[in-house]
């Protein structure tokens, strides 16, 4: 039975990993990354290292996930007034 569980876990992990890399939508990648952290933590439990799993859940999914959500929000608020990104250089430096 755990064989089926492990195959599902590995399949899901690979799917999420590809989803978080192979995508031009930034926000989707971030959500995929957070979920990747959660499932990597489950995988660490299955591999028998609960300490690594705890660190992965807290740092990988939690702290990094929140930072990345913050970054996406900042990118968006930057991007709105300057649609092309070329004219903005002078005003950013000055």
């Amino acid at each position: 039975m755990m064989g089926i569980f492990d195959i599902l876990l590995v399949g899901t992990l690979l799917w999420i990993a590809f989803g978080s890399l192979n995508e031009n939508k930034l926000f989707k990648s971030v959500v995929m990354f957070i979920i990747f952290g959660l499932f990597m933590a489950i995988a660490w439990i299955r591999l028998g290292s609960p300490d690594v799993a705890l660190a992965e859940a807290a740092i990988g999914a939690g702290a990094t996930g929140a930072l990345m959500l913050d970054a996406v929000g900042h990118l968006r608020s930057r991007a709105t007034p300057y649609p092309t990104g070329h004219e903005s250089r002078e005003s950013d430096d000055g």
Binding site: K25, F27, V31, L38, I45, A53, A58, L69, D70, V72
Partner: protein
Amino acid sequence: MTLALEILATVIMLTVALGIYRIERGPTGTDRMLSAMLFGTSGVALTLVLGELTGLHGLRDMALVFALLGALTAVAFVKRAWGADD
């Protein structure tokens, strides 16, 4: 009892795989975030079940961390990244 726990873990894993469809489809960032919140709850259940299955009782502390992280991510999303996917 071991078999029942294993079946429950597999079923929860299956529901999670089902939920990833919602991230793929979207359509808005909020819908994607909902799946992340779903996996917070499923992650707690999965951790508790695996903890009982492997006899690693320290995993209950990890379930607590999962429970708190779900709320943290939701707050970060609502405060900071709202509408980033439109």
